[in-house]
Subunit: 145 residues, 2 copies
């Protein structure tokens, strides 16, 4: 049993999409990393099991997984991370540590609606996509102190 992959498969099936062998391999590699992965690092890993893999191979697959909400792209790191809770529509917030580059995701925080409506008052419609916030994680704050 591989729970996350099975969850992804059902999630995609509900959208009328498939978790193909390639997508499964890419998602497995992302899951194995426990953190953000750069596209070309992912490509290098993928090539070990799929020698013909090339940039379009990974970028297409990542685009698909991102569009499906299974993976997020971290703009500030130019990297990709598996969403820990893609079981339902959610407004995830990605807390990106500027020191260790770790990413923590919090799901539907209580202040999200406040923020959204404050921005809406100003005429800006916040995206349903992820919100990325930079800072220092707990561990790195202690090190820096």
């Amino acid at each position: 049993m591989d729970a996350p992959l099975d969850t992804a498969e059902s999630w995609l099936a509900a959208r009328g999409e498939k978790l193909t062998e390639l997508r499964r391999e890419v998602l497995s590699l992302l899951l194995a990393s426990h953190g953000p992965v750069k596209a070309y690092d992912l490509l290098a890993a993928l090539q070990k099991q799929r020698p013909g893999a090339s940039p379009p191979t990974v970028y297409r697959t990542l685009d698909f997984l991102v569009a499906a909400g299974i993976v997020h792209r971290i703009d500030s790191l130019q990297a990709f991370v598996v969403c820990p809770s893609f079981h339902d529509a959610h407004h995830g917030v990605l807390l990106v540590c500027e020191r260790c580059h770790g990413v923590e995701e919090i799901d539907n925080p209580p202040w999200m609606e406040t923020l959204r409506s404050a921005l809406a008052t100003g005429g800006f419609a916040m995206s349903r996509h992820e919100l990325e916030i930079k800072g220092l994680c707990r561990n790195c704050q202690e090190i820096a102190a």
Copy 2:
């Protein structure tokens, strides 16, 4: 009189730094664009008046201006924009339109402290840098509707 450039010059002087001719040219080009500019577009513009300009020329200058708080880098666009209010320390929020790629900056919104303290409770120290939020600007919402 060129107010924004003079303001930048004083701002830098207060930090013990200088607005050199190169920096002034780059900042002028950024100001003239009224929106985010990509580094290589800036380079192309700069080369018209400074033929020897190369990637390090623009990236070094942009790094300097970003460090000084005069310019922000928009991670989601991989572009750079002049900060409209670099007169004091501020926690700017950059509202990035996903459709037209325009950027609006709001300065120290009232909800910022709430957000910061909510994240601090969770152990995350939000950066003093800019917060970037993606969505649709007023104009693009109307077009989409």
